[in-house]
């Protein structure tokens, strides 16, 4: 199979599996195999927002007033989120689009990835408003050991899938010698890699992000960095939808109706899936240790954050049909729910934008002529 941007063959779209069937030709949505992806697309589009809509004027002052160890917590989280969204802004497209076979799923992947690029842009918006030199913060992402170490665990499944798929699309199944290296490419192994990649993406969106979310909201609980919290709320709303997307993909795969071989693979991978969740939870706890290395913040410390990681890990693994790992049944940060609910924390509407006002919350069309009568 080689990738073609418009498959000339005539085939029944409804008979294709989600991945590794015929490549998509007509982007049509009149007939759909899995209607959920169309629903997700529509929901995601209705969530559209722009970082510039959120005013961060007070955050700079708040940030300057924070003690050093809290500035460290704030900036480290932003760096980590920047890394995660840099990955998510491109990887679903690069990894999944060449092998997807359903038009509605193809469009969902593109819509999903696009919304992550909004998140990336919002981090620059926050940095510009909060620190004098954003470049210092962004440059540190590739230099800081604690961040780069995490980049490996986030990207290794994606990279493996992308490499194997590129061999598969060029050379097909079989044993190939590439640059002196012998690689064995078979479809079942590829599907297995795809399933595990999807699990690691689910972990990324369902667990890894939430550690940073907790810290951002903990600042906002004390009425600090509230503009930032507003942006994180919009990001959390998107991420909740994305994780629903990956949960659906994983459940459809595991059910085996879409692709029976995928169902067998899912059944045989349970132990590895558990490992991926457990590893992620341990890594996030380690990260909490790095965040609070110079001191805790009011309302949040390493221990509580670690408990929250265990709680959220259990929630997410149960959602994809596996038994819980930690048996953490109660949420150690109950106040976080009202922050994660994007419409709940509502001050008077004239004082702050409402996230359900989709567009036009701010008139950003300021012409240079408007400053004509300004004297300096």
């Amino acid at each position: 199979m080689s990738y073609t941007t418009f498959n000339q063959k005539t085939f029944d779209t409804l008979k294709q599996p989600m991945f590794f069937g015929e490549t998509v030709n007509v982007a049509r949505y009149d007939i759909q195999k899995h209607k959920i992806f169309e629903n997700l697309i529509e929901k995601q589009l209705s969530f559209f927002w722009r970082p510039e809509e959120v005013d961060l004027a007070n955050d700079r002052k708040d940030f300057n007033d924070l003690p050093d160890h809290e500035q460290h917590i704030f900036l480290s989280n932003l760096k980590y989120q920047t890394l995660l969204d840099s990955v998510q802004g491109r990887s679903p497209n690069v990894a999944f689009l060449p092998i997807v076979s359903l038009p509605e799923l193809e469009t969902w992947i593109e819509t999903w990835s696009f919304s992550e690029t909004i998140h990336s842009r919002s981090y620059t918006h926050i940095m510009r408003n909060v620190v004098p030199n954003p470049a210092e913060v962004f440059d540190d992402i590739t230099r800081n050991d604690f961040i780069t170490r995490r980049a490996v665990s986030v990207t290794k499944y994606y990279d493996e899938l992308i490499e194997k798929c590129s061999f598969y699309t060029q050379l097909g199944e079989g044993t190939h010698t590439i640059n002196g290296k012998v690689v064995d490419i078979n479809l079942r192994d590829l599907k297995r890699t795809l399933y595990l990649t999807m699990v690691s993406v689910n972990v990324l969106e369902a667990i890894r992000f939430y550690v940073s979310f907790a810290c951002s909201f903990a600042f906002a609980e004390r009425a600090k960095m509230e503009g930032n919290a507003k942006i994180i709320k919009l990001i959390a709303r998107d991420e909740a939808l994305h994780l629903t997307g990956t949960q659906h993909i994983l459940q459809i795969m595991a059910a085996g109706k879409d692709d029976p071989e995928m169902g067998e693979i899912a059944a045989s991978c349970k132990e590895e899936v558990r490992e991926i969740f457990l590893d992620a939870a341990e890594q996030e706890k380690e990260w909490a240790g790095y965040l609070f290395k110079d001191g805790s913040m009011i309302g949040l410390n390493q221990q509580i954050l670690a408990q929250y990681v265990e709680y959220i890990t259990d929630q997410r693994i149960v959602a994809i049909g596996l038994p819980p790992i930690f048996n953490a049944k109660s949420n150690p940060l109950p106040w976080i729910n009202s922050w994660l609910n994007s419409d709940n924390v509502q001050v008077a509407p004239q004082e702050a934008e409402i996230s359900s006002y989709l567009v036009g919350a701010l008139d950003s069309a300021v012409d240079t002529d408007d400053f004509g009568d300004f004297d300096l």
Binding site: I36, N39, L40, K43, R237, A240, L241, L243, T244, Q247, H248, Q251, Q315, A319, G321, K329, N331, P334, N337, L340, N341, S342, D343, N344, Q346, A348, P349, Q350, E351, I354
Partner: protein
């Protein structure tokens, strides 16, 4: 009446209806005063203004109390009342009722039953709950993944007496 967002035409009509007895001069005067004064400082002080859209604020009242419920009651019809029994590990621990709330989640919260939640719109799946007995009606289509025996309390109401399992 909603002062801040009303446009000229509608407030003028209201005025005409309410003050048919006023003199012609008064009407003209009122016409002029309806032009917003761009230099009027009082408009700049948000503390003087009433909240523009109170309905956008989340209802913090007990939504199982009819007088506090925002729902319009149908005359001559009682809201269906259903028992909701809650189990932990298949042991019944508590029985509450559902009658007035907009969703099962709101009803449970109003009766101090803690349920995990996040989006409250059916797309995140945080409130996923096992339905052991009974039937529910979805007020909007749930988007999050739910198994056959599970419900999303944030977007459904009971159709019969129900038994649910909360973790």
């Amino acid at each position: 009446m909603n002062q801040s967002s009303s446009n000229h035409t509608s407030s003028q009509e209201d005025f005409l209806l309410e003050s048919s007895a006023s003199s012609h001069e008064e009407l003209q005067h009122e016409d002029f005063s309806l032009e917003a004064d761009p230099f009027d400082d009082s408009l700049d002080n948000p503390l003087d203004a009433e909240p523009v859209q109170e309905s956008l604020l989340l209802n913090t009242e007990d939504c199982e109390q009819p007088e506090a419920s925002a729902q319009i009651d149908l005359e001559g019809m009682d809201k269906p009342l259903h028992a909701v029994s809650i189990c932990h590990d298949s042991h019944p621990v508590q029985t509450v009722s559902f009658q007035h709330a907009n969703t099962l989640l709101e009803s449970l919260e109003a009766q101090d039953v803690p349920v995990h939640y996040q989006c409250r719109e059916g797309y995140c799946g945080s409130c996923r709950t096992q339905l052991l007995e009974g039937e529910v009606h979805y007020t909007e289509e749930p988007m999050a993944w739910i198994n056959d025996d599970e419900i999303l309390p944030c977007c459904c109401i009971p159709k019969t007496a129900i038994r649910i399992k909360l973790s």
